[in-house]
Symmetry: C2
């Protein structure tokens, strides 16, 4: 045989960075609502208590503001995010240079992972916690080190910190998907023991709920960043503010950290309508307070229900509750049975737990959950 013809070179599969070999793709299939409808459930019967969205929607003022400027969909957003930063700076009592806005706080996690970690870096996280920490760690080839207990045990965090010298420590309080939180005093003691080269991320996505429930669990971002130059606090508009669909989150940190993250930020990372919605939602304190109050009321119904039926649960500082099962009850079977009735909840078997996470819905959503769930016991 002679030389290979040039065009067969095309047959070689393109190689990508070797980090990608280890990444499992998240295969998003059809929307779950479509799946449920395949079980013969009509769309008005579907209740989704799976994504910790605000069941009361979002501020009516934000909705009006967005429709008022809907023609601006054609216009690029103000990339300085001037007005949004002013609002957030005012809310937290920090400087605008101490803020970075992300497409959800997710994107701030992505940015700090790319800024601080790389192949071989160690990332310290809780045994069960927000899944995106591990996913973004994989994106940069970093290795995840986990504690061994369900709840954040800061002594364990400290021991693992000493052994592994992680680039980043993630503390999620209140924690998702478990709902428990850390007393701010204990958090402070822990932070004092961490060296300034290790970035500590305090993810407060559900902090509004915890702060309203018990002030000992309230984390003050301004106080933390004044004291610690190795810390970033994350918050979101997706939960208490009811803007899950609009992708607005933020980080609060000393300006050196914010500057580093800004170097990797893509311009226009928030839509024009998202900016407007976020600004108005932050002003509508009444809506948020009411959402939190209603959540607390409905949460106590879940606690009573679980007590009455002898179901173990994790005391929650959030807008969801995690129900823990004992054999022969199986969380995957329970989630599937509920799904077939149009009730969508989150099975936590993927986290190694025989548990489901249920978003606290409206009163009628919860009635329906209790009704369906009772039949499975």
């Amino acid at each position: 045989m002679g030389a290979m013809p040039v065009h067969t070179a095309k047959r070689i599969k393109m190689r990508f960075d070797s980090r990608l070999d280890k990444i499992k793709i998240y295969e998003a299939g059809k929307p779950i609502e479509l799946v449920v409808r395949e079980y013969g459930v009509s769309s008005d019967k579907i209740v989704k208590l799976a994504s910790n969205e605000n069941p009361y929607g979002c501020s009516p003022k934000a909705k009006k503001a967005v429709c008022d400027i809907v023609s601006n969909m054609a216009i690029y957003p103000d990339d300085s995010m001037y007005r949004l930063k002013q609002k957030l700076a005012g809310r937290f009592g920090v400087d605008e240079s101490e803020l970075i806005i992300g497409s959800g706080s997710d994107q701030v996690i992505e940015l700090l992972m790319h800024a601080k970690a790389s192949t071989g870096s160690k990332i310290l996280i809780n045994s069960v916690t927000f899944a995106m920490y591990e996913i973004y760690a994989a994106h940069v080839g970093a290795e995840v080190v986990r504690t061994a207990t369900l709840h954040h045990d800061l002594d364990q965090f400290y021991d693992l910190y000493k052994v592994y010298n992680p680039s980043i420590i993630f503390i999620c309080t209140p924690n998702n998907p478990t709902g428990d939180a850390i007393e701010s005093q204990k958090l402070l003691e822990f932070l004092h023991k961490i060296d300034s080269e290790t970035l500590v991320v305090i993810d407060g996505a559900y902090m509004e709920y915890a702060a309203a429930k018990d002030e000992r669990y309230a984390v003050d971002a301004a106080q933390l960043i004044a004291e610690f130059d190795n810390l970033i606090y994350l918050g979101t508009l997706s939960k208490a503010y009811g803007l899950g669909g609009m992708r607005v989150g933020y980080g609060v940190a000393q300006s050196e950290i914010v500057t580093a993250l800004y170097k990797l930020r893509a311009p226009f990372n928030i839509t024009t309508l998202s900016l407007e919605a976020a600004i108005v939602a932050l002003e509508d304190v009444e809506f948020v307070d009411q959402s939190i109050a209603l959540n607390a009321e409905q949460m106590s119904r879940y606690e009573s229900f679980a007590d009455r039926h002898n179901i173990e649960y994790i005391y929650s500082y959030t807008n969801f509750i995690t129900l823990l099962f004992q054999e022969p009850l199986n969380s995957s079977d329970i989630a599937l049975s509920l799904l077939k009735e149009g009730m969508i909840v989150r099975d936590l078997s993927g986290y190694g737990l025989n548990a489901i996470r249920v978003t606290i819905g409206t009163s009628s959503d919860n009635d329906r959950f209790f009704d369906l769930f009772k039949r499975l016991l």
Copy 2:
């Protein structure tokens, strides 16, 4: 002196990945509209012809659809992007597995840079082209190699390809910020000469304008990806579809490439309202066709104006025109003089050109531009 007390360790500045040292931060200041108002221009006098937005806005049907579902701001978007992918697959005649949606086509560029390039990789681009290629290359520590001529010279591209063996080649047609385009036949000949290990990106952000103007410049994404397994075609809803503020772009490529990019994609990278707007905008072909026709009409006014005043310009296949100046005319001075009158255009001195880029506005926007500009000559 004894041992240093532990807390002084806090004084050490946190180190980030060394790639960041080379990245200049894009310091977004106040919105330019605010700056213009500081010159005493009232807001209704400001005309922005700087960002190649669609001056006719976006589809009225898309606006209505977004307001109809504004309550869904609280709900996470369908992360499978089922309906949007169906629409795009239908439009291009490709499979849904051959599509990836980004927060603007920018984000697809970011993903492919992270998937294919890393420190030391070479990225081949045109001398003057879309600025984000270089910015995202810096994010991963890759080096940019540029051609020497204003227009895409594919022979030069090929010569540099042979010398530098780049990981990625960016072909922007029509090119931004110059407006010229490449005949699709010439592009095909070039593509046949590139090995399958080099990813070729065809950025068609303004392709709808070029395809309508002269079909010889129309690039058929389906045909390209059927033939080339090392190619990704990029498109956007930000230009002809008038959704610049909503951040929706896409890549079309063989599924192996799409799968690799999906591994690095953050979930929920498009907002709930952006998804809806994009789906409806893609259906409203009439709006897009009309925008393109009006653009062509107004473009010819710019060409006549430039000819009449003996100003050199680049023949444009887009919704903007680049005016080239000779000394003593200076593009920065001209842009500033226009700014003080409330007319915002893009000075291209940062690209090494004595030129401004003007977005083709509505008839009255353009009247105002001609009127103000004449006074500067």
